[in-house]
């Protein structure tokens, strides 16, 4: 909220410079967002009066003026302006003055006449019609106000400073000049001046407007009538303050309601009471009721919203905006001012449903206390008489809903606490006198009862609930610098650390880095239907959790798979010309149990890898996969051509161990590559939670190092070219007997030395017995068995 300093100073003396005040406010909980100084670049411009006007001796288009600039001084000024006359008050830029656009004024000779300054237009001062209609005239700005010699900035209040202060959401009481003045008074030890609420009322035969509340969302409705209304412009001080606060001055009556809203935080609404048909009814909106508001938009009122109506029609959307019909016009002669209290939830819901926020709804949403309507109404009535806007009639209406009997009217909260409790939570010594004085400065009254302190909380401090709130009030006012740090003093020794699973994930990530991959962070939300775009048919992955009002279609659903996001990252890199991409991500997928979501979904972690650019990528990604499997204790896994629809069926593998699928890796399918705009990309994905189960089951036992030498044999076989190396190894292992320690493929040859359709595969085998030295016969008989098996299974011939 914007706070003009002069307005604040009406209620509290601020004798520190602005630079100090903007440091003080954050220290008591109010962030200063902006310091606004109007017409900062203008100086040396005063009000002058034209006392004489003569033709320029040497130029037809120029005139020579005598200007009274106050203090008995007269300046001669040459001007080209035509819209001036003797007796006019005009802004005069004296020699040395600064104007908009870094323009400076000096004594100048104009065609033989020395001119001591310049008469100004509104534009030259950066002031437009919103301040004064005359300022927008083409020519010199003829002033309606101001004293001769007075600084122009002072005349229009531009010597003031406005602070834009952010108010914490629990401090609705500070959303007003008076509320903020109260805080400043408490922080500086100054006195808070009382509001002038003594209005002058006239006895009249005019009957009070009858009001009935038919909807309990209204907890108090007050109102008063004024007649003999003369609609006109408000005084410049009021208009200027409204503008400083970001509001547009309209006319004296509307301005009063807005002024009071800003000053005391109570939204008001003025009706043209001659247009009211039989009094006011506060009721719930009818089904699909329509109302044309002051912004000239017709709104269809949402269910549960509140309407201020008369006998025949809706007049205002309660707490949000008045209706066009009963609004104040230049013809208004009699008004009814509403000052009511509506429940914050109701106003908030209506405002949200309509997408319509106003200064009123913003205040109601924060919540108003029971006394607020009374203060607001009285303050408005004071201004109506003071500004001579009309005649206040004494018959004030004050209605509560019928279920609110007098006995349940809001009572002041009393908190029973002690200095010890308050000091205890803060951890510092604090004197009772300081506690009492600080609380009193905020309007909280205190009473001692033994060691206890009874604190009576004013209604406007709804946020104060228990002694910890009081502790906060005290520490923010005496200063957080009183908190002296104590390191781990009151804290027990506890065993800390990460979970086994988190440590496992850390190790996996380190492995990925060692494998040359960089960690990526992809968004958890993706476009709808990404799983489908990947060709996935698994229903659990196709049902996505939709975000209710997504920011954009890119963030529409929670991902059920991590591949699409990864491919998009690869695509981005490739488009930006990054030739090699090496990425991994360890992140979650979100699998709903039902769609639409009724209970919390399953969240699982996926380790995803993407590689593109470079040679032998299949081998690279297979190597990383193998490392992961070994780390997880999965020595014996099987690779089958992958069934993942987004992978190239012949350059990809699903990894299974004991019939559990642990993941897959391989080249992205050409169709998928086209959809996701990637080329030559390989991916891998593993369910981290499943890997962890394997890891936990892994048991590492020491095996004594071999004592006896072994025998190494190499064999080369000719097989059909479609025989898989892995299958051959499997067959060798099955047939070799226990003596085979290891087997390794070291060469594959296809070419002129081998019959077409066949290939040669060379394997190195190593045999060992842990209890004796092997002899050649041992190895020979194993090789015989192996060759037989290979011949049986694959038709293999020894090369």
């Amino acid at each position: 909220m914007k706070f003009p300093l002069k307005w604040l100073q009406e209620y509290v003396k601020i004798d520190m410079p602005v630079s100090e005040l903007v440091k003080l406010l954050p220290s008591i909980g109010f962030e200063v967002e902006e310091i606004i100084t109007e017409c900062e670049d203008i100086s040396g411009v005063v009000v002058g009066k034209i006392t004489a006007l003569n033709k320029h001796p040497n130029a037809d288009k120029l005139q020579v003026c005598d200007i009274d600039i106050g203090g008995g001084k007269n300046n001669v000024i040459v001007t080209g302006a035509r819209n001036i006359a003797v007796g006019n008050l005009v802004p005069v830029a004296l020699p040395g003055a600064k104007l908009v656009g870094d323009m400076s004024i000096a004594v100048a000779d104009l065609r033989g006449v020395t001119s001591y300054g310049m008469l100004c237009s509104g534009q030259e001062l950066g002031i437009g019609a919103e301040v004064c209609p005359n300022a927008a005239v083409d020519g010199i700005w003829i002033l309606n106000e101001g004293k001769v010699g007075e600084d122009i900035k002072k005349v229009f209040g531009f010597d003031d400073v406005t602070l834009d202060i952010s108010i914490p959401s629990n401090r609705g009481d500070c959303y007003s000049i008076y509320g903020m003045a109260r805080e400043i008074a408490a922080a500086t030890g100054k006195k808070l001046k009382p509001l002038d609420l003594d209005f002058v009322a006239t006895q009249s035969s005019l009957e009070a407007v009858p009001v009935s509340i038919e909807y309990n969302e209204c907890t108090r409705y007050m109102g008063a009538t004024a007649d003999n209304i003369r609609i006109k412009e408000s005084p410049s001080v009021i208009r200027h303050r409204l503008r400083q606060s970001g509001m547009r001055p309209i006319n004296n009556i509307v301005d009063i309601t807005n002024y009071v809203l800003l000053e005391v935080g109570q939204p008001l609404h003025a009706f043209d009471s001659k247009l009211l048909n039989g009094g006011i009814v506060v009721r719930q909106a009818f089904d699909k009721e329509k109302l044309r508001a002051l912004d000239e938009v017709e709104y269809t009122l949402p269910k549960g919203s509140m309407v201020i109506a008369d006998k025949s029609k809706g007049l205002a959307i309660a707490g949000v905006m008045g209706g066009e019909y009963s609004g104040i016009t230049s013809n208004t002669s009699q008004i009814f001012i509403e000052s009511a209290r509506f429940n914050k939830g109701n106003i908030r819901a209506t405002s949200r449903a309509l997408g319509l926020r106003s200064a009123s709804s913003a205040r109601f949403e924060k919540g108003l206390d029971f006394l607020s309507p009374e203060i607001g109404l009285k303050r408005a009535l004071v201004l109506v008489s003071k500004l001579k806007a009309g005649r206040v009639i004494g018959n004030i209406v004050d209605v509560k809903p019928s279920i609110l009997s007098i006995t349940i009217l809001p009572q002041n909260k009393i908190i029973k606490t002690s200095v010890k409790d308050i000091a205890g939570i803060l951890g510092i010594d604090i004197k009772k006198t300081v506690v009492v004085k600080t609380l009193n400065s905020l309007g909280i009254t205190t009473k001692s009862e033994g060691s206890k302190l009874l604190c009576t909380i004013p209604l406007y401090r709804e946020d104060i609930d228990n002694f910890t709130d009081l502790a906060e009030e005290i520490i923010r006012l005496i200063g957080y610098d009183k908190i002296t740090p104590t390191f781990m003093q009151s804290l027990s020794v506890t065993q800390g650390g990460k979970t086994e699973y988190a440590i496992f994930c850390d190790r996996l990530k380190d492995m990925m880095c060692a494998g040359g991959l960089y960690e990526a962070f992809n968004y958890s939300f993706v476009k709808a239907g990404r799983a489908l775009a990947l060709g996935i048919t698994d229903k659990t992955l196709l049902s996505e959790i939709k975000i209710n009002s997504p920011l954009s279609e890119d963030y529409a659903v929670m991902r059920t798979q991590t591949i699409s996001g990864m491919l998009e990252s690869v695509s981005l890199n490739q488009k930006r010309g990054n030739a090699t991409v090496r990425l991994f991500e360890l992140g979650r997928v979100y699998l709903p149990k039902t769609v639409p979501v009724k209970e919390l979904p399953v969240e699982r972690d996926k380790l995803t890898i993407a590689i593109s650019g470079g040679a032998n990528i299949f081998e690279e990604i297979k190597g990383i996969t193998n490392d992961i499997m070994r780390f997880c204790g999965v020595d014996d896994y099987k690779l089958n051509y992958s069934k993942q629809p987004f992978l190239h069926g012949g350059i990809s593998a699903d990894i299974t161990a004991d019939d559990t699928c642990l993941g897959y890796f391989g080249k992205v399918h050409p169709m998928t590559s086209e959809i996701f705009e990637v080329s030559d990309c390989f991916v891998a994905c593993f369910d981290t939670n499943t890997l962890f189960e394997e890891y936990q089951a892994k048991s590492v036992r020491f095996a004594p190092l071999p004592k006896y030498p072994g025998i190494s044999r190499d064999i080369a076989i000719i097989v059909g070219e479609n025989v898989l190396a892995g299958d051959v190894v499997e067959a060798i292992k099955q047939s070799a007997g226990e003596l085979l320690e290891r087997v390794k493929l070291f060469d594959v040859y296809k070419g002129s030395q081998v019959e077409t359709g066949n290939k040669s595969m060379a394997y190195s085998l190593f045999f060992r017995d842990s209890t004796r030295t092997l002899i050649d016969n041992d190895a020979d008989s194993a090789i015989t068995k192996i060759l037989k098996k290979l011949s049986d299974d694959f038709g293999a011939k020894l090369r």
Binding site: N466, T468, L491, S492
Partner: protein, 340 residues
């Protein structure tokens, strides 16, 4: 005879001195000292010498052998060294040729910063939890004393997936889940992804990362909170960093504070990083609201505690001088390679 031997020695020494090849030297050695070498021949010829002359000449021959063996050894050592030097010179390679194999990758800067921070708190005995990202209204709001009409509950701020299920808007949800299960004393860090309805720009992201700490024990005070925050700030921003508390409002803490760290860039003098204030806002904190404790079955008259929460993304951008949040989620290799 003596002269002949002496001449042989001289000739051989001369030959050794001009030999620059090990093989030639060996041939020469065999030629003179070998079984059928020249000097050996004289030794063999002793049988033809008179008995008186024999010892004398034998002595000559032996002296000559010793002398020549020494000369051969010396020459051999020199030539071997020269050979080795030549070989080493031949093997010399261009050590500035580039490495063409695989280089180590790196963790994302967010992870690196998170691990540093977690490491600090683990050293103080904090446990670490990572709880669900999709949460019920209860864990995200009600249990944290966020009233039904609080603006955070707006669809404008929080992303809903059902009436009562949200993408968690803070990691404070983890605090509740821990307090439900664990009895005090509690010291725990809750961290992970969080979500808000913020359009992405240089300083906002609909997805970001938080790290929160929670301490529940007997007699915990604001001074304990300040102590741990000072320790943390010094750890992460460098020794000598101080913190400043400013009053703030969070429904789940009372009193609540914003915490600023003295700017490491300018040591408090004011610079571009701290926008001239000398302070950088790093986290929010406070004494855990009594209602939150009560809701989790912890008696607030016996226990008290504090909580603090920070945006990891913010801390990371401060530490590395990253000027746009969005670049952290692009996964551009040129970005990621800067954090090795």
């Amino acid at each position: 005879m003596q002269e002949i031997i002496s001449q042989l020695v001289n000739e051989t020494e001369k030959a050794i001195s001009v030999t620059n090849e090990l093989r030639v030297l060996n041939d020469l050695k065999v030629e003179v000292l070998g079984k059928s070498g020249k000097l050996t021949a004289y030794l063999r010829g002793l049988k033809d010498v008179s008995a008186e002359e024999r010892p004398k000449i034998g002595q000559y021959v032996n002296d000559a052998r010793v002398k020549l063996e020494g000369a051969f050894d010396k020459a051999e050592t020199i030539l071997k060294q020269a050979d080795l030097n030549r070989k080493l010179a031949e093997e010399k390679i261009d050590i500035t040729l580039p490495y063409s194999g695989k280089s180590r990758g790196a963790l994302h800067p967010l992870t690196q910063v998170r691990e540093r921070i977690i490491g600090y708190f683990v050293s103080l005995g904090f446990g670490v939890v990572d709880t669900p990202e999709i949460e019920t209204d209860y864990y995200n709001f009600s249990a944290l004393n966020i009233p039904p009409d609080h603006p955070a509950r707006d669809a404008q701020d929080t992303l809903f997936v059902a009436d009562n299920i949200v993408l968690r808007s803070h990691t404070s949800t983890g605090q509740i889940r821990v307090m439900e299960k664990q009895k005090p004393p509690i010291k725990v860090i809750s961290h992970g992804r969080v979500y808000r309805a913020d359009e992405p720009d240089a300083t906002h992201s609909p997805m970001f990362h938080q790290l929160e700490g929670l301490v529940i024990d007997k007699g915990v005070t604001m001074c304990d909170l300040k102590g741990i925050l000072d320790g943390f700030a010094s750890f992460i921003f460098g020794a000598g960093t101080t913190t400043r508390l400013r009053p703030s409002y969070f429904p789940f803490t009372e009193p609540s504070v914003e915490v600023d760290a003295s700017c490491a860039g300018c040591k408090g003098a004011g610079c571009r990083i701290c926008k001239g204030t000398g302070w950088i806002e790093i986290l929010g904190a406070g004494i855990v609201n009594r209602r939150v404790l009560e809701g989790c079955g912890i008696n607030p008259d016996i226990y008290s505690g504090f909580a603090f929460g920070m945006g990891l993304d913010r801390i990371t951008t401060i530490l590395y001088g990253i000027n746009d949040l969005r670049v952290m989620f692009d996964n551009d290799m040129r970005f990621l390679k800067q954090f090795v």
